[in-house]
């Protein structure tokens, strides 16, 4: 079906919406990467089969009339709460079932689908209060979130273009082509205060105006879906859950700067996201929403997909361009900026997936509404990937300016296993580690920079008392050292030296002089590197040195790891009061380091001990501890 005019689109949109409203009930089974890994496709198949057997199923493509008594079963994208998956959501009630298994399907159909009943055991249980939560909106994980970018992720079928259209899909594009000029689009985006969600936080409208001012005829729009931050998955979730919103955003950007071609650069590690994006492109083309003379306005736009090949630095814009051109993904000096001289030497803008997915909202609802969320200098909402030692992990979209405490404790439900809060690492390998005192800090681009961290792509790793901060700094340094492209010496060699120093400290071989060296070297790497990777790589080291110096000192002075995490500094010890002399530990010890007579307290010879932990795991009496 070709959508040739604005009127066509509007009519289709109303028709699809009406079709959706006619469902008695619609069941959305999460088919994002996480839930699929937990078996959600089996749940989906079983649901379809059973609902069909009851004679209730209707398979519609939303452009046909639907009868009133019918039930739809649909696959959706990621809801961001993958930990609880597979998730099954019911419309219109908003009922949410967690950890659904194939075996549960029969009961779901009989109880919930046929009789509108609720199955208690499939509800989310608040880990802190034990309360059972019925709907998604009441769930403490979702309650405080404000979903703008992720609004339809988990609510629509990402592989059905009509579902997107039913939710005002492509209407922002239509509005732009019908009522606006490139200048007014740029003005609207500038006024919205939208800043790039890919890490830098550069004002999007300003970036576009540079590219718009460049002479054509050839310009490009690149969607950065490389998502290299290890532990962040918001871009994956958007590409999987609402791919058309990314295409619509790219076209709006293209119209604004005068580009007619775009590239999506996606990580090869995201096969499902790539598959969904490809399908979305094919569907949009088949409906005339992508290609030549879009909506009869003379606007043309083509989109290609490029798969990455596993290099973190390719997320950096100039390296990404090199990679699309088929070369090694090495950053190039700026200026010239891509807006002036980008892909194949043409003016190019690069925007992050999340940035682009916000555009339809701004165009549809106006800059003022978007700006009503967030703070004076950080407008709108931002998605964070909450991970680590919290109860609730997942994707959390909140208005900017919310405090870390609210995110970690109100949404994240606090620490798991009764652990004590210690730190949160924010902004991925470029970010920093913050302390308890920083918990009331608002999540805002500028506030975070002030304390040495950054919003970055939005990784938020919560760490409890048993996480060693030196080890954490070492982990991130290991990552960037491995990913340094090697072009500049301070980054290539400096990160190696930093890693060596950190390793030395975690092995208990460090000195106080090493801490001085560490700081000095970190500053040099920052100052002497060409691209953002090297410039920000030392941040985890610098912030841990600043906020957790005591812990470094314990490692170098007392040769102790206060968190008990550093392997080399661990000392296994048998508490003679608790030991029953059962001899189990002595038998499993691969080093024969444990001696003792039957029914007598055993002893570990620290000289022989390999610190493998086997004894501790096997002791039924909890007599073996690390000190």
């Amino acid at each position: 079906m070709l959508i040739k005019t604005h009127e066509d689109l509007k009519k289709l949109s109303e028709k699809a919406k009406a079709a959706l409203e006619q469902y008695k009930s619609r069941i959305l089974v999460c088919a994002g990467t996480g839930c699929v890994a937990n078996g959600s496709l089996k749940v989906y198949d079983a649901l379809v089969k059973m609902v069909k057997e009851k004679g209730l199923l209707v398979e519609v493509d939303l452009v046909e009339e639907v009868g009133h008594d019918n039930v739809g079963v649909t696959k959706s994208g990621c809801h961001g709460f993958c930990q609880m998956g597979p998730l099954v959501r019911f419309e219109p009630s908003g009922l949410l079932y967690c950890k659904v298994k194939e075996e549960d399907v029969e009961e779901i159909v009989n109880t919930t689908v046929v009789n509108n009943g609720v199955i208690e055991r499939l509800l989310y249980e608040d880990p802190n209060t034990g309360e059972k939560i019925t709907t998604q909106d009441e769930n403490p994980f979702y309650k405080r979130q404000v979903r703008v970018t992720l609004r339809y992720c988990g609510r629509i079928d990402p592989e059905n273009i009509y579902d997107y259209i039913a939710h005002r899909g492509y209407r922002a594009l239509s509005k732009v082509l019908q009522e606006m000029t490139p200048e007014t689009v740029i003005k609207e985006i500038t006024e919205s205060g939208l800043r790039g969600r890919g890490g830098g936080g550069f004002p999007t409208g300003r970036k576009w105006s540079f590219a718009a001012a460049q002479p054509g005829p050839k310009k490009y729009v690149i969607c950065n879906g490389d998502e290299g931050d290890p532990g962040a998955f918001m871009d994956r979730s958007v590409m999987e859950g609402n791919p058309h919103s990314v295409l619509e955003g790219m076209m709006i950007a293209g119209f604004a700067i005068g580009a007619d071609e775009g590239y999506i650069y996606a990580r090869a590690e995201y096969p499902l996201a790539i598959k969904r994006m490809r399908k979305a492109i094919a569907d949009a083309e088949a409906h005339g929403l992508l290609g030549e003379n879009i909506l009869g306005t003379g606007f043309n736009f083509k989109i290609h997909i490029k798969e990455g090949a596993g290099a973190f630095v390719c997320g950096e814009e100039t390296a990404l361009i090199a990679s699309i051109e088929g070369e090694r993904g090495m950053p190039r000096p700026r200026p010239p900026f891509p807006a002036v001289k980008g892909l194949w030497g043409c003016p190019t803008i690069i925007n992050n997936v999340e940035t682009l997915a916000n555009l339809r909202y701004i165009i549809n609802n106006g800059a003022a509404l978007f700006k009503s969320y967030g703070t004076a200098t950080s407008a709108g909402t931002k998605t964070f990937a909450l991970a680590g030692q919290v109860q609730n992990t997942g994707l959390v979209e909140v208005p900017m300016g919310m405090t870390l405490r609210e995110v970690v404790f109100d949404i994240g439900g606090g620490l798991r296993d009764g652990k004590k809060y210690k730190s949160v690492q924010i902004g991925g390998p470029s970010g920093g580690c913050l302390t308890e005192e920083n918990l009331d800090l608002p999540l805002d681009y500028d506030e975070l920079l002030k304390v040495g961290a950054m919003v970055g792509s939005g990784g938020l790793v919560v760490m409890g008392e048993d996480t060693c901060m030196v080890e954490t700094a070492k982990f991130f340094m290991g990552f960037v050292q491995n990913e340094s492209c090697g072009k500049c010496v301070p980054c290539r060699e400096g990160t190696k030296q930093l890693l060596a120093l950190l390793t030395k400290i975690t092995e208990g071989k460090g000195t106080e002089d090493d801490l001085v060296l560490l700081e000095e070297l970190a500053q040099n790497v920052k100052a002497g590197s060409l691209c953002g990777l090297g410039k920000t790589a030392p941040n985890p080291v610098l912030t841990t040195l600043r906020y957790f110096r005591d812990e470094y000192l314990a490692h170098v002075r007392d040769k102790k790891c206060p968190a008990g995490a550093c392997q080399a500094l661990k000392e296994y010890y048998i508490d003679p009061e608790k030991c029953k002399g059962c001899t189990v530990c002595a038998r499993v010890c691969p080093a024969n380091a444990i001696t003792g007579d039957k029914k007598q307290p055993h002893v570990i010879n620290v000289e022989l001990c390999l610190k493998c932990g086997a004894c501790m795991e096997k002791c039924k009496f909890g007599s073996i501890i690390i000190r």
Binding site: G85, G231, A309, E325, G329, T393, Q425, V461
Partner: protein
């Protein structure tokens, strides 16, 4: 021998489908690696000639990206995620368990019988299920050292069954 020729034909087709464009080099290498399981040196030279650039350039690209391997890999690839979310939830003990079971080290990722290759990746985008392991293309969440040994055992028996 025949097999070798078929593969070579496939590479030719891959290059043709990308119109021998230099800008498609990464995609060509990805598809070629899917055919061989790795990138043999002589094939890299062939690709270079076919698209008209120096073998050194092709080698440079192939060695830059971590996805490419110039040496043969095992039949089954076990990829342990060591991204931030997985790291803090204990990906290291999983890696250790695999190494111990298969007699591997950091410098020796492939088992002698060419059955298994152990790789680490940084983030598979399934962080909510940390720690995550992908074994033979299947994603396993909330993994444990014992759990991965089970998976390996299953893969081993799948082989002997065949």
């Amino acid at each position: 021998m025949e097999n070798k020729e078929i593969k070579f034909l496939q590479v030719q087709q891959i290059i043709e489908s990308h119109e021998a464009k230099v800008s498609h080099l990464i995609a060509i290498l990805q598809e070629t690696q899917a055919v061989y399981g790795y990138l043999p040196k002589e094939v890299l030279t062939y690709i270079a000639t076919a698209i008209g650039i120096s073998p050194a350039t092709v080698l440079g690209v192939a060695t830059f990206y971590s996805q490419f391997s110039l040496i043969p890999k095992g039949k089954y690839i076990i990829r342990v995620c060591d991204g931030t979310a997985c790291h803090v939830r204990g990906s290291e003990p999983i890696m250790m368990a695999v190494r111990k079971e298969l007699g591997l080290t950091a410098d020796k990722p492939t088992s002698d019988d060419l059955m298994f290759t152990l790789e680490t990746v940084s983030c598979l985008g399934a962080c909510g299920l940390a720690p995550v392991v992908v074994a033979d293309e299947e994603v396993h969440g909330q993994m444990t050292p014992d759990g991965i040994l089970e998976v390996i055992k299953k893969l081993k028996t799948a082989v002997t069954d065949n």
